[in-house]
Amino acid sequence: MDITLSQIAVYPVKSFAAIYPTAAEVVETGFRHDREWMVVASDGVFLTQRQHPDMAVLSAVPTPAGLQLTVPGLEPLVVPVVEEGPEITVQVWGQMCQAVDQGNAAAEYLESSLGRPCRLVRMPPGFRRQLGLEYRVSGRTRIGFADSSPLMLISDASLADLNSRLERPVAMSRFRPNLVIAGGTAFQEDAWTRIRIGEGFFRVVKDCIRCEIPLVDQETGEKGVEPLETLESYRAGPKGTRFGRKVVQESPATLHLGDTVEVLE
């Protein structure tokens, strides 16, 4: 059976809802616009669904007029993209970097939903957050505000395997992959090291070790106990519970839904 690309997911603001385009451009940081923005608390530390599951239901869509933000109960707000402007020091996983503040309107709009002082920030031009050594495919690879790699991939078959063990099946969105693969067998991606998707070549570098975010229903922002109890019972490893793989592009490419996936190594 053929293996194909069945979903492309881009998360313009870290920890917000995904957008699902039919085609997307892979640039140095992964998909264009992926984790280009993030929300930080007043001390500059990034906010995530780990502490704020409600962030799952906030959405952000890049449009020609700016970034369109939507929070429950309010009309959407389009804020201009501030490319260069006042920078603030922000912190992602203990790593400090500079980011461009996106202004008061965005901050006030998000504060009304998150219930705490916060700022929306964006990667400044030429932003370089280096990948860990084990992820470096070429000197040009870098990441935005993603945790540790430009892209993350999961097979539909792996989710089907997990769901067959759960009382209530869960949606793929809980795992926040960028690339979803149809066809093949459960956990086939564990053994992959290099693949081609359409015109793009990718290294499959590492297991994705799961945090608590899969506990959050991405439609409602409700946090439960599964699927992690079940996942831990059969996917635990020395460094944590594995589900999905971290992926790094070898060069720029444009991917389309339905692209053929070829396992090279």
């Binding site: 001390d43 502490q51 599951p53 203990g94 109890e229 019972s233 635990a236 020395p238 460094k239 519970t241």
Partner: protein
Amino acid sequence: MTRFDWRPATVVANQWAATEMFALRLLPEEWIPHRPGQHYEIRFPGERLSRKFSIASNPEAEGAIEFGIQLLPTGMLSSRLAQCRRGDRLEVRGPTGVAFAWDAGQTGPLVLIGAGAGITPLVSMYEHLRAVGDSRTVAFVLSAKAPDRVFHYERYRHALTTRFTSTEPRIDFPFLRSTLAPVLDVSGAQARVCGPPPFMSAVVDHLLALGVHPDRIRSEAFV
């Protein structure tokens, strides 16, 4: 009512157990025995905001559960929990956690390695062994900024091999080898590692290099 349902719990004690770390003792309406290394989710009654906290007490201490909680500067829950007084009402859900849990039914010497507040679930394992009178060899290793940052330091100082570092938590390979090799058979050991992800990842690599079997190493990110 299952362990996956929220249920009421009453604060029976709350006191500082280290700088910026407190020991919160709760009496849940229905006590369910836990395995050392598991956690509970805690929230204020009816609120949406909840977080998981590792259990510090051992399952033999029936009824109440003690948590070791770090006060985070912007922690929306930890700062409020620090204010709780005896008699205050909270809600708990758990115990949860499968892979990291450990109990005396598992064979082999035990290696416990933590950083800072990551000592909490390891304390539960250590107290469990003492409570059941198990005399196997245990190596209990901790990276911390200073003695006043160690949870119940006076209680555990004699059990711990502590590496104090003023910067990032760190247990390097030579230190780990010289701590473990003389006291236990590393190849047959079970290891539990708890701390920030980069610390955890480095320590797991050292344990693998020392010959601990991957199936006998489990770690938990403490963030």
